[in-house]
């Protein structure tokens, strides 16, 4: 990208009530319609057709999801982002959709009962048979987004390592008869994750690219979950890298990798291996969550970004999508704070062209209003940083 500090979203936005109510077969109330109208006015969308659809929601869910995508796209365009997505309005969430459309995987409960944090859960599945590609995960969604977007789009897809890490496995593990239980688990995990990468994930990527996708972000929040060595060598991060390469090799697209919330020291370890991710042009990373809100662009003033110096040590020219918005906090980051974070990263990496402004993660846990404010601040903060660079 030619301009410095271009701005991107990471993926998900909170779904509007007028969509979630329809998804749950609940009535859309007057207040939800009023909220929709307010956003339609704000985003200059003629919503009269949507209002008709909402009168008979039961038969119109796919169309209503398309409208929600339109709102998300226009919201990001209006905020001034340079690369956008549809807020994942078509997806239940980043795990359930791909896993639900993958052969060999069965959900272990009919509700989201596996805990993540606070009152956040997901619906986990177990691998009960050979992994197989069964149907495209996101192709229709992409084609729709492409048809409505006025800016370049980036398709986020959950990577194989994370899909495997968040799943239980009772298939590959039982086919292994290695010595200890840990050895058996590790070998089974490798086989499971590489099958996901080489099979359904790769096939999905190929179909998206064949249909015009230019930028694909593989979401790997589980990349640095386990930092242990096994039989004398680090195990999990190299597996994450191997799975990324297996899924992307030989495919002509720009690939990003999104990683967030590592344990202490996780980024430092990841960066030692990250340059082996051959097709990865950009690492979109969470940092703001661990940073201070006071201003300043020195190392002491930006402790949340300490791992960047390790990235710089290993970097061979890849870009960093710098998380400058904390997605778990309703307060909007001041423009000058965003500016300082971007300028600090530029200083550490030694090249402003390597710094892209992004939120820490998808903004799905914030209200649309908060997300909009934060994204507007992101763009304005990047403008400030650009003006002095």
């Amino acid at each position: 990208m030619e301009k410095l500090f271009p701005c991107m979203e990471i993926g998900s936005l909170k779904k509007p009530k007028w969509l979630t109510r329809v998804e749950k077969c609940q009535p859309v109330e007057t207040e939800h319609v009023a909220d929709m109208r307010a956003w339609a006015e704000e985003l200059d969308i003629n919503s009269s057709q949507l209002e008709l659809l909402l009168k008979e929601p039961a038969k119109n869910l796919p169309e209503i999801a398309k409208w929600a995508s339109l709102f998300a796209v226009r919201m990001q365009e209006q905020a001034g982002l340079d690369v956008i997505w549809n807020g994942e309005m078509w997806r239940s969430e980043m795990y359930e959709d791909p896993i639900g459309n993958t052969g060999g995987m069965n959900f272990v409960s009919d509700y989201s009962g596996t805990h993540v944090w606070g009152d956040n859960y997901y619906r986990a599945a177990e691998c009960a048979g050979q992994i197989q590609f069964t149907k495209p995960w996101h192709l229709e969604e992409f084609l729709h987004a492409k048809s409505i977007a006025k800016k370049p789009i980036k398709v986020p897809i959950t990577d194989a390592h994370t899909l495997g890490e968040w799943s239980y496995d009772s298939h590959y593990v039982k086919n292994k008869d290695a010595g200890g239980t840990r050895a058996r688990r590790q070998e089974a995990k490798r086989e499971f994750i590489l099958e996901l990468a080489r099979g359904p994930l790769r096939e999905n990527i190929k179909q998206l690219v064949a249909n015009g996708a230019k930028i694909i972000q593989l979401d790997g929040p589980a990349a640095v979950t386990d930092l242990r060595e096994y039989t004398g060598r680090l195990y999990d991060v190299p597996l994450f890298v191997e799975a990324f390469n297996e899924a992307t090799k030989g495919i002509d697209a720009e690939f990003h990798s999104h990683i967030c919330y590592p344990p202490e020291g996780g980024y430092e370890l990841l960066f030692k291996y990250a340059m082996e991710m051959k097709k990865c042009a950009q690492f979109n990373l969470e940092f703001a969550n661990r940073d201070l809100w006071s201003l300043g662009a020195s190392a002491d003033e930006r402790p949340g970004y300490a791992a960047l110096s390790v990235f710089k040590e290993h970097n061979d020219g890849r870009r960093v999508g710098l998380g400058v918005l904390d997605v778990h906090n309703d307060n909007t980051e001041p423009l000058f704070l965003i500016e300082d974070r971007l300028l600090y990263a530029s200083k550490v990496l030694g090249d402003s062209a390597l710094v892209i402004a992004v939120p820490d993660c998808g903004l799905r846990t914030r209200s649309l209003g908060v997300a909009h404010q934060k994204l507007c601040s992101l763009v304005a903060g990047a403008d400030l940083a650009r003006a002095v660079s």
Partner: protein, 319 residues
């Protein structure tokens, strides 16, 4: 030898409790029902040292931190819980740590437990001190000892409420992938002193549980800790480490994997348990999950409880 069984931490919430909490509707009642059903399950399964399931706890850290002066639990600073896909808000230590009297009671569903003889699970001093953002103490040990003093008061109150068993969870003792494993040896004497601050003279039986990683490198040292039982995650720990077990310590066999939906066959794990017990020579033994069962949906977590119960029964009957 008779082999007992117990649960080791936060249990999975039911669909109804998840929904009640999410919609902030009937939360107290849903909590009570979930805890009651878990207690009933333990009783029906012959599980000892009953736990309330800690169903209001989102992690092992935040509720304990909220009972302390000098510690703040922020809405931000979300950190990964070891090598799991669960997270906690890392507390900030901004002043001298002290226990706020009465505060731990809010986090225990004592109403669903028998009046006496139940078990509480708390983070051990070293693990707690390792997982906070220290903005106050110049010295790590000072922080750990002040926490241990505060925890001593906390435990005393729990004992007053009818608690007879206290499990101190110390995964940080074994899971430190970015540290030289020998470096933990240097601090073990201080860690032991901190545990002693909590346990000395208290009218309860204490256990120290490690999980998520092989306990064998520190096992010999932990035998010196002033606790009666030691809990080991046997999906991670090298079985060879068990020979030479200090027979004065009870052994808690974490052999039912709390992080896998794969249901162990009681006959097979009974066999494994027998071989561990033969090697260890321990005089007292308890079957348990490797760690909290919160990593599974409720139905599977409950099924694991039944697997533990059935395994204990087989061990008891010699089948």
């Amino acid at each position: 030898m008779e082999v007992g069984a117990y649960l080791t931490g936060i249990h999975a919430r039911s669909r109804e409790l998840i929904s009640a909490r999410k919609h902030n509707n009937g939360v107290e009642e849903a909590h009570r029902r979930d805890a009651e059903s878990l207690v009933a399950l333990q009783q029906a399964s012959g599980i000892e040292r009953l736990v309330d399931g800690m169903l209001s706890w989102n992690s092992p850290i935040e509720p304990v931190a909220s009972c302390l002066e000098g510690v703040e639990v922020p809405a931000t600073n979300l950190r990964r819980w070891f090598n799991t896909n669960t997270f906690f808000h890392m507390p900030s230590v901004t002043g001298r740590i002290a226990y706020m009297p009465g505060s731990i009671r809010e986090h225990v569903a004592a109403g669903v437990l028998p009046k006496k003889g139940w078990k509480a699970v708390l983070p051990a001093p070293y693990t707690f001190a390792s997982l906070v953002d220290n903005k106050h103490y110049e010295d790590f040990n000072e922080l750990m000892f002040d926490f241990a003093r505060a925890q001593r008061e906390m435990v005393r109150e729990l004992i007053g409420e009818g608690c007879a068993y206290v499990q101190l969870d110390d995964p940080s003792l074994v899971y430190h992938p970015l540290r030289d494993s020998s470096s933990i040896k240097d601090v073990l004497p201080e860690i032991k002193n901190a545990v002693e601050l909590v346990t000395r003279g208290q009218y309860a039986r204490f256990s120290l549980h490690t999980y998520f990683e092989d306990a064998s490198p520190i096992l010999r040292d932990v035998f010196d800790f002033p606790v009666q039982d030691i809990g080991i995650d046997f999906t991670e720990t090298d079985l060879k480490a068990i020979s030479g077990w200090d027979s004065s310590k009870g052994i808690a066999l974490g052999i039912v994997d709390a992080r896998s939906s794969w249901m162990e066959e009681p006959a097979r794990i009974a066999e494994l348990a027998r071989s561990i017990l033969d090697k260890s020579g321990a005089k007292e033994a308890y079957l348990c999950p490797t760690t909290s069962l919160k990593y599974l949906p409720r139905e599977l977590a409950d099924q694991k409880v039944r697997v533990i119960s059935e395994t204990a029964r087989r061990l008891g009957s010699g089948s």
